[in-house]
């Protein structure tokens, strides 16, 4: 049943992250990429819904210079790992 949620927009320019968090359930995972990585700056692992994992695309976190501002509890992933996640979860949802 588990879903992979993808977010590519910054918190200031979309309400995708709060809507996605509200619609995530235990076993789901969230990937922040492109400007979506900015959503991780204000986020702590404790504020995620229970049982929901969050990953951040390392390329984009570095491109936006925010890799050092992110809770180290969140894993940085690359495209190979993104592919693995897409395959591992039953469906992916891109929130716009």
């Amino acid at each position: 049943m588990a879903t992979l949620h993808l977010i590519n927009t910054a918190p200031a320019t979309a309400d995708a992250l709060p809507r996605c968090l509200a619609a995530s359930t235990a076993g789901d995972a969230i990937v922040l990429y492109e400007a979506g990585v900015l959503g991780a700056v204000d986020l702590r692992a404790e504020s995620l819904p229970p049982g929901v994992a969050l990953f951040i695309h390392g390329r984009d976190a570095h491109a936006l210079h925010v890799a050092d501002l992110i809770d180290p509890a969140f894993g940085l992933i690359d495209d190979r790992q993104l592919v693995s996640l897409v395959v591992a979860f039953e469906r992916s949802v891109s929130w716009i």
């Binding site: 492109e34 690359d78 190979r80 592919v83 693995s84 469906r91 716009i96």
Partner: protein, 129 residues
């Protein structure tokens, strides 16, 4: 696994194509199957052969062409979206009496039915908005 990839964003004012290219390359290298990439909305403008990329910038359309040539991936522009944004092949140029066509090969213009078929036949769908 059989993946369907959709790209929505403008090549010049979003990172959608960069993100999708990275994903598609990694998926193909990982042994997954991507038969077609679908470009919809503003993403279809990537299929124009009249784009002139400055020398210090990446030719994103060329990167897609490389992926298509190396891995046999079809690059599909949805027809209604392409016509609305001025990307046209020879056949449509004739039908709509335009003096020229500007489709960059091997990009091709297809109907939405191909998008439907790809979604239906795939194991996973990933969209880059």
């Amino acid at each position: 696994m059989n993946l369907a990839v959709l790209v929505y964003g403008s090549p010049a004012s979003s990172r959608a194509h960069i993100s999708a290219l990275g994903f598609v390359r990694a998926a193909l290298e990982g042994g997954h199957r991507i038969t077609r990439v679908f470009f919809y909305h503003d993403a279809v403008t990537i299929g124009s052969n009249l784009i002139v990329t400055p020398q210090d910038e990446t030719d994103v359309g060329g990167a897609w062409v490389d992926v298509a040539r190396e891995h046999g991936v079809e690059l599909c522009l949805c027809i209604a979206a392409a016509l609305r944004r001025g990307v046209i092949n020879g056949e449509e140029a004739q039908r709509y009496e335009r003096g020229a066509a500007n489709l960059r090969e091997p990009f091709e213009i297809v109907g939405l039915g191909q998008l439907a078929a790809a979604i239906i036949e795939s194991d996973r769908v990933v969209t880059f908005p």
